[in-house]
């Protein structure tokens, strides 16, 4: 039961999100996106293995802007989710979980690594 007397502040406009919270919520969002993006990745696997013709067709799929956007979006979500997930695995090993400050540092490290990988990925999709 919900105790109506308890003071609750869930007004996102007044809550200040530290970097750790941003990394965490993006991990959730990217996880949900990746789940649906997997349909695109499985379709690519299907087409790339069905026949030599469909392999050639799917190799050139990035020439279509819509396909470019969908594949880019899928890979961005997957990349971010993987990097933020590896941060959790590293913290499970006892590294970077001593204090709020070490958590903040590892969150920034994850953001920087994700940004670098996403930049490389963006270059590959565009070029």
């Amino acid at each position: 039961m919900v105790d109506k007397k308890r003071p609750v502040n869930l007004d996102f406009g007044t809550i200040k999100f530290p970097i750790t919270a941003c990394v965490s919520i993006l991990h959730r969002v990217s996880g949900v996106v990746t789940l649906f993006a997997l349909a695109i990745l499985l379709w690519l696997l299907d087409q790339s293995l069905a026949s030599e013709q469909s392999f050639e067709a799917v190799s050139n799929i990035l020439s279509y802007p819509i396909a470019q956007f969908l594949i880019w979006g899928s890979l961005v979500a997957l990349t971010y989710h993987t990097v933020a997930g590896i941060r959790h695995l590293v913290m499970d090993l006892g590294i970077g979980e001593e204090s709020f400050n070490s958590g903040r540092i590892s969150a920034w490290v994850a953001v920087v690594i994700a940004v670098v990988l996403i930049a490389a990925l963006t270059g590959w999709v565009i070029l």
């Binding site: 609750v8 349909a39 993987t82």
Partner: protein, 122 residues
């Protein structure tokens, strides 16, 4: 309805360890595929279908998708129980959450069957 879903809900510690084991499997697969694509920039259909024709590779892919199934089930349950709550969306929250979780079950089952169809051409 709640009792039905509770049967598929493991305890916290087992969820925690399953989430990590499946994460390692999926990360290993991702690194392998990215490594293969980066070291074979001019990939041909013959190379690609030869790789995916190997029984070991088919099993690796299938195990990864099975890992996705468990990982998504547990992860989505965390997300749904946090946001589809009575406080946020009203008294229908439990029903709505269970319907969404059931929908998720169909999606991951579809992914598993599709993967088997892709790899074994059924």
């Amino acid at each position: 309805m709640m009792a039905f879903f509770a049967r598929f809900t493991l305890t916290g510690p087992s969820n925690w360890i399953i989430q990590r084991i499946t994460a390692i499997v999926m990360a290993a697969y991702l690194f392998f595929i990215v490594g293969f694509l980066v070291t074979n920039p001019a990939l041909t259909y013959d190379q690609w279908s030869a790789l995916n024709g190997l029984l070991s590779m088919r099993i690796f892919t299938l195990v990864t998708i099975a890992a996705v199934a468990f990982h998504a089930w547990i992860g989505m349950r965390c997300v749904l129980t946090d946001y589809i709550t009575v406080r946020w969306i009203g008294p229908k929250a439990n029903g709505v959450r269970n319907v969404l979780q059931l929908g998720l079950g169909f999606i991951i089952l579809f992914y598993l069957v599709w993967t088997i169809k892709i790899l074994w051409g059924l």
